[in-house]
């Protein structure tokens, strides 16, 4: 142990005493992490309800959904969704899920809580920025939700907000006036929050590691968050100015994204010379790294959970880290694959296609390391490890279709169909959500000092696992059958035979969504009535399990930072406490691989 003077250049702060400074405007990274988790939880339920409404409408067009007119009297007169309102709900579902769930939960929530503890720091170096990061994100969420309450509702432009329809104002449809301005403002604010967060994550990793914590001794989760924060820093810094330019096209009459002589609803638009593709370039330069911002923390979490439950390290810790780094670097070179059908120069399509195929290599390496490490291991089956396995399954199933979409010739056929919807939901959304669940069941005991109910957890897992496949696998078949996406109803003859498939998906979505109530119940019930958790319930080795109390004290280590003596995953060895040795244990152990 060494004392905190090692971090003499960091402002130390005494624990707060008032309720507001303790639980609301807290600068404690653990409280901020929990706040982010709470925000993601609210957001994911909002996003899920939106998807239910969409699914009901897709299965049974013109179905009256009781009470829907309360949400919007113009969008759902007589409780029946208008086509425009369907698109508005779709846009909000995508935006809420991508930004306020897939970015906040695995990265901002768990990263805030555990990154400083895992590197042995007492807090982040800029705690006030950290507090701002959450509250700015919270304001962004409110601004986005506010668009439900403006006269013509939220924007219907899709979460990608393609120009020029996003930039011309209300003439392009309901929600395209104030709705888009609120959307762009929300996202720009969100970017500020994530930039502040990334700043803290990077400096914590580089500067706040405790004695003995070399880079290679950091757990895979820490690596995941560090790599993600580097991506976040560069991606959000580009999306923010793009959103500001979009707002200026709306409110100041500039023409960044609107071309000349555009006539909408028989009205010549008062813009000239703008580039519609410019928005797509700026958006996807952020958008593709965003996919990895969502999934890389999940990769770290899943690896961390599996290692603790396999009781042995990954086949190669380093190759796993290098592969996550390769994903981050390549993620900037592939963004054009979202634009194969945009009218972009075909040469560019080929230039973007190659790195897209190449990025499957590090992805495959990561999967092979997981599977190779699992092979022959006696995996402890608990809810956390089940969700980790589920994440791998989802990532593979969704990733395989990426090979098809990476090729422009095939993508042109599939791009506007449900095939793409199935692909990205599995590989990025559901896989990341499974990572979040895995992390929740694994770390809940440390965060709240109580165990979650394992039986309920396993029921939750199986319902979610089977349900997710029932929802998203048929999407691929629909896509191959030519079912276009973004349609609010399927009236063409060739789509009629597919409607039973849509109804099956809707039922699956309702059931799977309802199964999440089991999780919510487990979360709340365990928080107050769960079994008391020991300090290290999983016999794990990393520093979050070495805190003097559970949950950790205000300064994480009770005034004495730990000293790190080992690599993060010393499992399957003969230690004095069992088959593992914790990172901060000075115990000398005989290495299994020493003779290698």
């Amino acid at each position: 142990m060494h004392d905190m003077s090692a971090h003499a250049h960091v402002a130390h702060h005494a624990p707060p005493t008032s309720f507001i400074r303790k639980h609301i405007f807290s600068i404690d990274h653990k409280v901020i992490g929990k706040q982010y988790y709470g925000l993601a939880l609210v957001a994911v339920f909002v996003g899920m309800v939106l998807s239910w409404l969409m699914r009901l409408h897709l299965g049974w067009a013109n179905l009256a959904i009781p009470g829907l007119h309360w949400l919007s009297s113009t969008g759902a007169p007589g409780d029946v969704m208008t086509p425009e309102y369907y698109l508005q709900l779709m846009t909000m579902h995508g935006t809420i899920m991508v930004f306020f769930v897939l970015t906040t939960a695995p990265f901002a929530a768990f990263g805030n809580y555990f990154l400083p503890i895992q590197v042995g720091a007492e807090d982040m170096p800029f705690p006030h920025f950290n507090m701002m990061s959450f509250w700015v994100t919270f304001v962004a969420f409110l601004v986005l939700i506010a668009s439900f309450f403006v006269s013509d509702g939220p924007t219907l432009g899709g979460w990608t907000q393609y120009a020029p329809l996003s930039a011309v104002g209300a003439v392009a449809g309901p929600g395209q006036g104030m709705g888009v301005v609120l959307w762009a403002a929300s996202i720009a604010i969100f970017c500020v929050g994530q930039l502040l967060g990334s700043l803290n994550f990077i400096t914590t990793t580089l500067n706040m590691r405790t004695k003995g914590m070399s880079l290679w001794r950091m757990p895979l989760t820490t690596w995941g968050w560090f790599i993600t924060s580097v991506m976040g820093l560069t991606a959000f810094a580009v999306l923010m100015p793009a959103c500001i330019l979009l707002i200026l096209d709306h409110v100041a009459g500039t023409s960044f994204f609107v071309a000349s002589n555009l006539v909408l609803n028989d009205q010549l638009q008062p813009h000239a010379g703008g580039s519609t593709l410019l928005w797509q370039h700026l958006f996807w330069f952020f958008g593709h790294p965003e996919v990895y911002i969502a999934i890389v923390p999940g990769m770290g979490i899943v690896s961390h959970v599996l290692v603790a439950n396999m009781r042995r390290p990954m086949l190669s810790h380093r190759v796993l880290v290098y592969s996550m780094g390769a994903l981050a670097v390549l993620s900037y070179m592939v963004y054009g694959h979202h634009m194969f059908v945009s009218g972009m120069n075909p040469v560019s399509s080929i230039a973007f296609s190659f790195p897209t195929l190449i990025i499957t290599i590090p992805s495959t390496i990561i999967v092979l390391i997981w599977i190779g490490s699992l092979y022959g291991s006696r995996l402890r089956i608990n809810t956390a490890s089940l969700f980790a396995l589920g994440m791998i399954s989802m990532f593979i199933s969704g990733g395989v279709s990426g090979f098809f979409l990476a090729q422009p010739s095939l993508d042109i056929m599939l791009h506007a169909t449900y095939f793409v919807v199935g692909h990205f939901h599995l590989v990025m959304a559901v896989a990341a959500i499974f990572g979040i669940f895995s992390g929740t069941y694994f770390w809940f005991p440390k965060m709240f000092g109580r165990m979650m109910n394992e039986t309920l957890g396993k029921i939750h897992f199986w319902l979610t696992f089977v349900g997710a496949y029932c929802i998203f696998m048929p999407f691929h078949y629909l896509g191959l059958a030519g079912n276009v996406r973004r349609y609010q109803a399927f009236v063409d003859d060739y789509l009629q035979p597919l409607i039973p498939v849509h109804r099956f998906i809707t039922v699956a979505a309702l059931v799977t969504g309802a199964a999440q109530l089991i999780f919510l119940y487990n979360l709340i019930h365990s928080r107050f009535g769960g079994e008391k958790a020991p300090d290290n319930p999983w016999q794990a080795t990393s520093l979050e399990w070495a805190t003097p109390t559970t949950p950790p004290p205000y300064d994480n280590f009770g005034g004495h930072l730990p000293t790190v003596y080992h690599d993060p995953y010393q499992y399957g060895i003969e230690g004095s406490t069992g088959d593992y040795v914790m990172q901060n244990s000075p115990e000398k152990v005989q290495s299994v691989g020493e003779e290698a």
């Binding site: 003499a8 700043l199 706040m208 820093l233 810094a237 580009v238 810790h317 380093r318 020493e594």
Partner: protein, 223 residues
């Protein structure tokens, strides 16, 4: 008195035989035989790293705006060049001068923090820097007024749109730097200034200077 900067402690770096087939993560790479640590015992203050991280993010933002400018200009028939207001050259000199005065101030304050009694009124040059910074912002405002007097507003032409966006984005970041300077002066006043804060603030200010020169060249060449 303010903090002193310690020399980094020496870290023992035992030479370990390189193992093949060592994927890391555990099973290998244990405590070296001597029991000493391959340790990170000294790290630079987070502010020193943080400021570079911030500079990287701001650079990305302006790179995005630059690429937007290049793309927008490339495909446009409506792009009209305009002569940039000559006060911008004066503003540039003011900003460069402020970097020089800040560097003088930084050395004096650092000397003062190192308990050199002969350094009197160490904050004087900080005030000069602050004044020059405010003068620059005022000068930018004059430039905007001159442009609007010519009938060139934000939405008049893509070139003027980019001019206002780039200069306003820079001015906002510069105001952040002015806030940093005020914070340094306040901390100096109550003897709680850290060397790392001083260095980070001045590094940010110099970056604002470099960024402005880049923008001026961009505006001059492209708008």
């Amino acid at each position: 008195m303010a903090t002193t900067v310690h020399e980094p402690p020496r870290i023992e770096q035992p030479s370990q035989p390189r193992r093949v087939l060592d994927g890391g993560g555990g099973h290998g790479n244990l405590i070296p035989p001597q029991g000493s640590l391959r340790a990170v015992e000294y790290a630079p203050p987070p502010a020193a790293t943080g400021i570079w991280v911030g500079i990287a993010a701001i650079s990305m933002t302006f790179a995005a705006l630059t690429s937007a400018l290049v793309v927008r200009r490339g495909g446009a028939l409506d792009w009209r060049h305009f002569t940039i207001p000559s006060i911008l050259y004066l503003n540039t000199l003011v900003l460069i001068a402020s970097s020089v005065t800040l560097e003088i101030a930084r050395r004096r304050v650092a000397g003062f923090m190192g308990l050199k009694a002969e350094v009197r009124s160490p904050a004087r040059w900080l005030y000069v820097t602050l004044a020059l910074g405010l003068l620059f912002v005022a000068g930018q405002y004059v430039a905007w007024r001159q442009l609007s007097a010519q009938g060139l507003y934000l939405a008049s032409n893509p070139s003027s749109s980019f001019f206002y966006v780039l200069t306003a984005a820079h001015a906002l970041h510069l105001l952040g730097g002015l806030g940093g300077l005020v914070r340094v002066m306040r901390k100096l006043g109550n003897f709680s200034l850290r060397r790392s804060t001083l260095d980070a603030t001045s590094r940010y200010w110099h970056f604002m200077d470099v960024l402005w020169v880049y923008l001026l060249v961009l505006i001059w060449a492209k708008l």
